[in-house]
Amino acid sequence: MSRELWKGNEAIAEAAVRAGLEAYFGYPITPQTEILEYLSRRMPKLGRAFLQAESELGAINMVYGAACTGARVMSSSSSPGVSLMMEGLSYIAGTEVPAVLVNVMRGGPGLGNIAPAQGDYNQAVHGGGHGDYPRIVLAPASVQEAIDLMALSFDLAEKYRMITMLILDGSVGQMMEPAEMPEMRSPNRKKFDWATDGALNRDRRVLSSIYLDPLAEEQTNFRLMQRWKEVMANEVRYKEYFLEDAEIVIVGFGTAGRVSLSAVRAARERGIKVGLLRPVTVSPFPYEVLDRLTGQARTFLVVEMNTGQMLEDVRLAVRGRVPVAFYGRTGGVVPFPDEILDEIQRINTEPVSAEADPRQSWLDRMTAIKA
């Protein structure tokens, strides 16, 4: 396959098709609508199911139904729409069926705006729907990476009978970049021993998230967490840049990580020993590599397009052994490499206090600039 110019959202849609997507259910919302539009053209031609649902509630429950049959199924949305899907995600998790959801994140809270943001990290990684459930969350930083992670999303969801979310900000969804598509995989539906596809020549099956007996529900939650242990052991993915001798370690995912890389390169030209860790799986989070880097780094700098959500996971990994600083732009503002370079230079010359609250220090600096 050759490299072609692909728009992020359309690339995701095509990559899903090539990964064997059998059914898509979605609802229009900017900045992800091109996924819906692309699949409305592509899926019917392949004899596969496409449906524009009446709402995100409808869409996620159609995904839930199709997932129960063992079909490869996905939906996509953007922040406010994903909030509406949280009910369905919890049920899908509780029923232990595989499904893929793409969130092309935008500025929030509330209606917010349609500019790129990473404010749904906590919703995706730590919460969202009700009850205890783990989920896999992948965070691509480029169109190519989004393509590559799409097939992986389905494979992981099916392997662990778990939701896989792909979170990217609006800029990755909207930008065009040269990228290479994988070959078309045949969409042969796997024969899962749990799928409710009609009890032909077998005993009937029931898929439900109900465990009326609290002890049975507790056992289910134990089972989900045991499975999560496997995910944590086997599926952590991250990218390392200039980390061999880095004294300052930047941690950023998605676009924040990508912009940080430009800043890291510029700082390296100025002789600053700085590197970047870019988590690709933000759930499972790469705690172990951060633990290792804690032995080498003088300071961590977390860069996000929110008010410091992944920051808490980095702090959990670092456990106060090394100071952690934070820099973020939020509400749909994308940081420039120069801003991050300024932060790197400041940290390089003024030691960061281990006692200071990194979020408050950042907020004080930001509001002082604005004033």
């Binding site: 449906l51 509630l57 009937r204």
Partner: protein
């Protein structure tokens, strides 16, 4: 006690499991379940049917039917059923929903499934209250009817008017078959069964969305004996929710059951 086959006049349908139901004495859920099971038996589609259970008293419907079953979030059964049917168009997919589930929280899902003409069958149990949570007011609660959340009787000025689902959905182009029946006496139960069979036949032949609304009893939450509950359906529910065929398209009229 074993009954000789030639003396057996009444048995469990094959589409039923052996599990006794959890429904209250006198509740017509059991009757509705049995009618569906008999239809699945007659059509010989047990091994190609996927049921979608709702949230409400019939949340455990999946325990009683010997078919594949999934359990939907409250009100979302038509969306889940849509997802199943779109990837398995040659299977029979049906939802079984109460009035809180279908006419309140799930109003969006049912209207759009009907509007799209999804080849699904919906069995809609209207007993004018939320049974499982203890008898609260539903969209179908009659004016003046006392419930635990309309203790002085439903006041239409502040709590609105009942919703007539069969009439409402019958206005939609995608609907093939939409009728209302009642379960309050043997004659009406026979008519209900015929309607359920026609609804499933509608789906089997790909003739569009089908729904049978069934007026049902809730002796426990109505605070009535089972017999008085049946009288209440006849005297109060039927006048408010007239029985009848609200939409039967021409190809469906040709179906003989």
């Amino acid at each position: 006690m074993t009954i000789a086959p030639n003396n057996l006049v009444y048995d469990r349908p094959e589409a039923f499991t052996d599990m006794p139901t959890h429904y209250c004495p006198g509740c017509t859920h059991g009757v509705a379940h049995r009618l569906i099971a008999e239809v699945l038996d007659e059509m010989k589609v047990i091994d190609r049917t996927i049921g979608v259970a709702p949230v409400g008293c019939s949340v455990f419907a999946y325990n009683y039917f010997d078919t594949d079953f999934v359990e939907a979030p409250h009100g979302r059964a038509p969306a889940m059923a849509t997802g199943i049917k779109r990837v398995l168009p040659d299977r029979i997919v049906f939802t079984y929903q109460g009035d809180g589930d279908l006419a309140s929280i799930g109003m969006g899902e049912i209207v759009h499934a009907a509007a799209r003409g999804e080849n699904l069958t919906v069995i809609f149990i209207n007993n004018a209250n939320y049974g499982m949570t203890g008898g609260q007011m539903a969209p179908t609660t009659l004016p003046g009817m006392k419930t635990t959340s309309s203790p002085d009787g439903r006041d239409v000025e502040t709590q609105g008017y009942p919703i007539r689902m069969a009439e409402m959905l019958s206005t939609l182009e995608g609907v093939g078959y939409c009728v209302r029946r009642s379960l309050h006496d043997p004659k009406n139960i026979r008519l209900a069964k015929k309607a359920i069979r026609t609804a499933f036949e509608t789906q089997w032949r790909g003739l569009g969305f089908s729904m049978v609304e069934l007026l049902s009893t809730c002796p426990t939450n109505w605070g009535m004996t089972p017999v008085n509950s049946l009288k209440f359906v006849e005297e109060h529910m039927v006048p408010a929710y007239p029985l009848g065929d609200y939409k039967i398209t021409d190809p469906i009229k040709q179906i003989k059951v």
